[in-house]
Amino acid sequence: MTEQAYNFAYLDEQTKRMIRRAILKGLAIPGYQVPFASREMPMPYGWGTGGVQVSAAVLTPNDILKVIDQGADDTTNAVSIRTFFERTAGVATTTATKEATVIQTRHRIPEVTLSEHQIIIYQVPIPEPLRFLEPRESETRKMHSLEEYGLMHVKLYEDISRHGHIATSYAYPVKVEGRYVMDPSPIPKFDNPKLSDMAATQLFGAGREQRIYALPPYTEVISLDFEDYPFEAAKADHPCGMCSATDSYLDELIMDDAGGRMFVCSDTDYCEARQAAGYKGKDAA
């Protein structure tokens, strides 16, 4: 079958309408999980089927798409989704955060501040923040509708009692506009402060769980914490080995079996842009 046999961005127009309705509802009720009829996509669950469907629904022929996986543009997930939309939608793609109009991401928010003409789409594995505390979906929905969020703090309490500090380091629960408690997808808690008051529109898609939720621009998002154990955005306490940045989230790379290691920016575009601008880290060749 030729690529022309596909509708623009793979999904048929009726499906895209259905997803857009869910997105609009999600934007109208920030943080609320809107159920939608998730489609079978030509990739396994867990590879971003939710994010891909949301991207397909919002893409227009003039968009410039960027896909990142753990901050990187060149890993399998990012490359395959980018190629997927190049072939089925024919849209332009980029790795430069500033140039992109639609950014689909897994596990990271880019280091560069996003602007109002951008949309960032998160791939979400488990949209329900209360899931591992309360297994019944009927009960978690009721807890959301009645704002019974005491249980969320039980998880943080358990962290402190076991580890002496809040050890949850990713998918850190947040409260949206003082109302819904939301799972920000498995982004590191370092990225949590960026969620709040962001200029770009933020959309979250969970394919297997069939949920879409959203944060309109400039939404207040607060990370949950205790008065005596306030939220802290944590990162490895090193500069980047390649570009010497101290303000970016770092990946730890094991270099050899003698304990050698190296810290580099997880956002490859940010790191490359800095290196091109002349910044040089201690591990740069």
Binding site: F226, E227, D228
Partner: protein, 256 residues
């Protein structure tokens, strides 16, 4: 004095079968009411209807709320009823596993109700939790252990601590000593009696164990086939039962 809880004509049917029929009674502050009867007599149905876990077909359950005085809890909105369920009411399940979160530490279990009503200071939650574990005779060193590592009696005491930590005024108990051996039962009853007296709690205790009501309850209601067979002061009903079923119940207790 207003009754704390006033049950009027409570009826619950399961299709053609009657769960409990036309039950009425008043419970005053500080009073402990025992409900006894054989299996299938409608005791648990009645308790669940009162606690809001089941919706009765007819009748009223009027609770004297702190804010608005007497309110029918059956017609009040669900958020209000659930709020009562984690503040002024407590429910002790027969099986501690039903009332506890087994994947959460003992401290987290006790602290959950505090956090549910807005406590956001870890140190204070911790302090109150540890205090309550002491009150139910659980060693403070076990605060971070999961209830799965506790014995049956300890789990039951933990469940009681979890329920009483927010200072409820009314406690529903469904067979609180069921499944525990006699010496553990005796200690639990002793503890419960102390807590009920110290905190001035009102309680409704459902049990088939007459010794439990003899020790804890001020008043007693004997149920048979979903209806009240006999009601009165505990000692009066147990020492001088009038209804044939009460007589049978009292005479079936094994004397050691």
């Amino acid at each position: 004095m207003n009754p704390l809880l006033s049950v009027k004509g409570l009826t619950k049917r399961y299709g053609a079968f009657v769960g409990c029929a036309d039950i009425s009674f008043d419970l005053y502050p500080g009073e402990v009411m025992g409900i006894v009867g054989e299996s299938g007599s409608g005791k648990s149905t009645l308790l669940n209807c009162m606690a809001g876990h089941l919706t009765p077909d007819e009748g009223q359950v009027v609770f004297d709320t702190r804010a608005d005085g007497p309110r029918d809890t059956i017609t009040m909105s669900e958020p209000e009823r659930r709020m009562l369920g984690r503040t002024d009411w407590a429910y002790v399940h027969q099986h501690a596993r039903d009332g506890l979160r087994m994947g959460v530490s003992a401290g987290g279990n006790v602290g959950e109700r505090l956090m549910a009503v807005g406590a956001r200071h870890y140190g204070q939650i911790r302090e109150k939790t540890t205090d309550w574990l002491g009150r139910v005779e659980i060693d403070a060193s076990r605060v971070d252990d999961r209830p799965t590592t506790f014995s049956g009696g300890m789990q039951q005491r933990l469940q009681i601590a979890r329920n009483l930590v927010t200072g409820p005024r009314l406690v529903f108990m469904d067979e609180p000593t069921g499944g525990l051996d006699v010496s553990v039962q005796a200690r639990l009853l002793d503890l419960l009696r102390g807590l009920v007296r110290d905190m001035g709690l009102s309680a409704v205790i459902v049990t088939h164990d007459l010794a439990v009501v003899r020790l804890l309850a001020d008043r007693l209601m004997v149920m048979k086939d979903g209806r009240v067979a006999e009601a009165g002061l505990t000692d009066q009903v147990l020492d001088d039962p009038q209804h044939p079923y009460s007589q049978l119940l009292v005479s079936s207790v094994l004397q050691v």
